[in-house]
Each structure stands twice: as C-alpha cells, then as structure tokens.
Amino acid sequence: MGSRKLRSKILSHVLLVPFLLFAVFPFYHMTLTSLKQDRELYDRNAIPLLITQGPTLEHYQKLLWDTPFLTWTKNSLLVTFLATGLSLVIGTIAAYALARLKFFAVASFGTGIFVTYLVPTSLLFLPLAQVVNWLGLGDSKWSLVVTYPTFLVPFCTWLLMGYFRTVPKEVEECAMVDGASRIQALWRIVLPIAVPGLVCAALFAFTISWNEFIYALTFTSTSDQITASVGVTSELIRGDIYFWGSLMAGAVLGSVPIVILYVFFLDYYVSGLTAGAIK
C-alpha cells in the first residue's frame, strides 16, 4: 500500500471518530450511570465519564426485585413473539400472492399495502383505542398482539415480495410439472429458497414491535399489562422524582434482547435496511 493511500485510510478513520462517538456515547453513558452508586451519581463535582467510587449492582437489584420489571419484560416478549409470528404468516402468503399470482385487482392491492406501510402509527392511535375497547381488549396486552400486525404485515409483505421475485419462476414450475400442487411448491421449494428473506423480515418485525411505544402507551396502563418501554418510562418515574440509576438500568436491560439479536444478525440488519427503505 502506498503511503498516500495509507494516509487517506488513516484520515477516513479519524473523520469517523466523531460519528462513532455520537452513535455510541449515549449507550456508554447509560450503562455507566446504571452501575454508579447514588453518592457518585448525584455528586456535581464527580467526573461523569467514569466510575471513580466503585461500581454497584444496587440499581439492577432494585429494578428486578422492587419493581414489576420482569413482568413488563415478559409482556414485551409475549407481544413481540406473537405479533411477529402472526404477521410473518399473514405477510408471507400475501407477499407470495402479490409477487407470483395473477388475479383480480392484484396491482391495486399491492398499492394498498404500500400505502398502509407509510401510514404512521401516531395518525391512528386515538380511534384505534376505541376499536380496541369495542373488541373487549382495553387495557390488555392482547390489544397489542392484535394491533401491531397493522404495521408489521404491510412491512413483511413489502420486504418478502422483493425476495419472492428473486426466486426463479422456473424452479416452481418444474416442481408443479412433477406433480406438486402450488401450495406444496410454495412450502417445499419457494420458502426454503427465501429463508434469508424470512429471517430478515422476522428480525425487523421483532425489532419494530419491541421498539413500539405509542400504541403500548395508549392501549395499556395497568402495571401487569404494560411492556418494558412503557413500564420503564412511566412507572419508574413517580411525579417529578427520577431514580436515574434504576431508570438507566431499565433502559439497558430493556435493550438487551434486541442487542443480542443484533450482535448475531448484524449482516441481516445491514442488508435488510438496504434492501428497501424501512421505517
């Protein structure tokens, strides 16, 4: 490598440093705060960038044993897994139909899915709260299982349509000539080829529903029904008193499931984000 090339490579890294600090610092600070003793946390002369008076797990203990945080996390997991699974099934068959089959009004249905995909949740949360009440799901985590698919299904359908189009039509036709029905061909031939797409859709759907906030905040309020995001942001703050240590511990733990997925499937996240514009 020429010295000019090396110099420009080093320059790129140096220029990246502010971006990386901007991206990562809030997590560093969050984690650090959650591990500090209150004495140091509320000491205005202490250096906020380091732990100097020894770390503690006190905030985590308080969060796990003195608050319903574990219940909230269980609710989040239940809602996220069910909503993701349901949306993936509905999205997969819809995407297959839209990408492969010719039928009445297929094009306008595709446009409808795309338009729904763009509708922001903050436009519909008020009337949807009424619908949820009518369905008898007011203040229940099941209301989230029912409503999250409204944004997950359009998303999954849109993403999977792209994947299904890349599976050569001939592969499927071959199977059908050999006597397989269309559903068998979908199940045994097309879906296995589209596994990367399915994984990608599942990951993003999981992430989006884990991160959802406004519906969860609006449709549920009782402590044993709310999700982790809502619990940490509303129940841990009593009036104007903020327990910053436990709040940050909650923010860290509430992010753990996503971070685990993220570490294992980073490449899927990158390729999924670039495959199509994603919320």
Partner: protein, 312 residues
C-alpha cells in the same frame, strides 16, 4: 422425468373432495384472493376503519364517555385560535426541516466515509447502526439524563472543553435549547438509516463512471458533484420521503424528552393530539390535530408512487 410418464400424470383423477380442493387451490384466481384475505381483513378492520373513525371524530364534538354530534369543520378551524396549536404547527415544520436536513448532510458524509477502505468494517457498521435498533423510548431516556439540568454530561463536557460557560444551558427547560435537544436526538436516531441506505446507493455506482470522470480531469469535488450526487438521486429521494413522514409524525422522542414543553415549544402534532385527545378527553379536537399529519402523508405517498416506484 421420462416423456412416457406424462400420460400417467395427466390422467383424470377420481373426483374426490380432496382433489377438488386441490384443483381449486392450484387456480391463481382462487388462491391469490385467498392468500391476501387475512391481510385485507386486518387492513380494513384496523387501519381503514379507524381512519374513517378519525375523520368522524374530527368532524364531531366527541368527548370521552359522552354522545357526540357532527360539528363540521369547526375543530379544524377552532384549532387556529389556540396558541398551543399554532406553536405546534410551527414546531412541526422547524423540527422536520432541520432534522431531515441534518440527517441528509451527515448521512451523506458518513456514507462516504463508510465507503472507504476501513480496518474494522463490521465493527464500525455495527456501532453506526446501533441507535437505530435500540428502543427509542429507552434510548431517549438516556438522552434526557444526558441533558439533565443539574448533572448534564453534555454541559460538563462543554465546560471542560471551554466551549460553554458554567453552568451551561438548561437544555430541556429553555425553548430554543429544548428544540435543539429534540432535533439532536432525532438526528442521532435517524442517521443510521440515512447512512446505511445511502451507502448501498454509493456501492452500486459503477466504478467506470469515476474512472471516466477522472480521465476527463475532474477533481474529487467535481466527481462528487457530477457523478456521485446525480447517481444517488433515486436513493436520496426514497430516504428523504420516508424520513419526512417519520420525522413529521414523531412521538416517542418528544414525549419522553420534554412532553412538549417548555410552554409547548417542542410539541408535535402527535404529542399534542395525545394530550388534547386523551389526557384532556377532547377526542374530536385530538383527532383533528392528528389529521393535520395527513396532507404530508398524502404528499409522500403520492411522490413515492409517482417517482420512486417508477424508477425502481
């Protein structure tokens, strides 16, 4: 398959129920509608219907737990008498305009850097994408601690570097600083989407174009201006349109960071709509506020359908 087998495969099957279902399922005119029905029911019941309800609420004097009457466009018009709404209207444009502009400029810069030869490519991409995957409500909570009036690490750093005079601004308690803080968090959260998507656009630009431009004597600035930017146009259009609707309809960041304050200076349509529609119970007015999101949504949908999908 041997040619001789064809006759056996296509021999008439016994007409059992099982076979009839099978024949039906193999017909695209039947299977197609059947496969889209669940999605269709979901969209009609939980998207289209609530949308019509939002329209009805907005045209009525609906109040939680009380029968309502249609009042025409009165909600939409009366809102203009409210200082909070006028402030929110202005905030929405200031917030969206500055946030999208910052994300665009920083996103292009970051994508150009990520497109260079790098040593820890995977690690760097992982770090860059991180703000996008963490639940916004929780990471914003982290930011609100960073902007805390007494223990702000932002101010501490600013003072240590000599950029700020102690004690530094009260970020979430003063109008313009609060707006700056809210925009900053939105940029932080939205930047990965811009950077990674634009990076994908950069990677797909053919190398020959740059070689040709270089042969014609174009410097690096000219190459960026005359090759990179025009080639990125479709990607930039998608990213900007998406981000505009998402930023305009943002809820989480403002709700967690400032609750719309101080004195409504950071309220957006979504947060004001929740405050009026749920916390004060005036559903009609709340629905009217959230419907002010609709023109922007309609424009984005129109633009996406017209330009973007045609180019794709």
């Amino acid at each position: 398959m041997a040619i001789g087998d064809v006759g056996i495969v296509s021999a008439p099957r016994p007409v059992t129920l099982r076979n009839r279902i099978r024949v039906l399922l193999d017909r695209e005119q039947f299977l197609g509608p059947m496969f889209v029905t669940p999605a269709l029911i979901l969209i009609v019941l939980l998207v289209a219907y609530p949308f019509c309800m939002a329209l009805y609420f907005a045209l009525s004097n609906a109040f939680i737990g009380r029968p309502s009457h249609l009042v025409g466009l009165r909600n939409f018009i009366n809102l203009w008498d409210s200082d909070a709404f006028r402030q929110t209207f202005q905030n929405a444009f200031v917030f969206t305009g500055t946030a999208v502009a910052c994300k665009l400029v920083l996103g292009i810069s970051l994508a150009l850097l990520l497109n260079q030869q790098l040593w820890f490519k995977r690690l760097i991409r992982g770090a860059v994408l991180l703000p996008w995957v963490i639940p916004t409500a929780l990471s914003t909570l982290g930011w609100s601690w960073m902007f805390n009036s007494l223990y702000s690490v932002v101010n501490w750093t600013g003072i240590a570097l000599g950029i700020m005079h102690p004690p530094g601004p009260n970020w979430l308690g003063q109008q313009y600083y609060a707006m700056t803080a809210v925009v900053a968090v939105n940029v932080w959260r939205g930047l990965p989407f811009f950077a990674i998507t634009i990076l994908a656009g950069l990677v797909s630009i053919p190398k020959e174009l740059y070689e040709a431009a270089e042969a014609d004597g174009a410097g690096s600035v000219a190459r960026f201006w005359y090759v990179t930017l025009p080639m990125l146009r479709p990607v930039l259009a998608i990213v900007i349109l998406f981000s505009t609707i998402l930023t305009f309809s943002d809820f989480n960041i403002v709700y967690v960071l400032t609750h719309g304050g101080p004195i409504n200076s950071t309220h957006l349509f979504a947060t004001l709509s929740r405050q009026i529609g749920l916390e004060s119970g005036r559903i009609g007015e709340g629905a009217a506020i959230s419907l002010y999101l609709f023109p922007v949504l309609a424009f984005v949908v129109y633009a996406q359908l017209k330009f973007v999908r045609k180019e794709a």
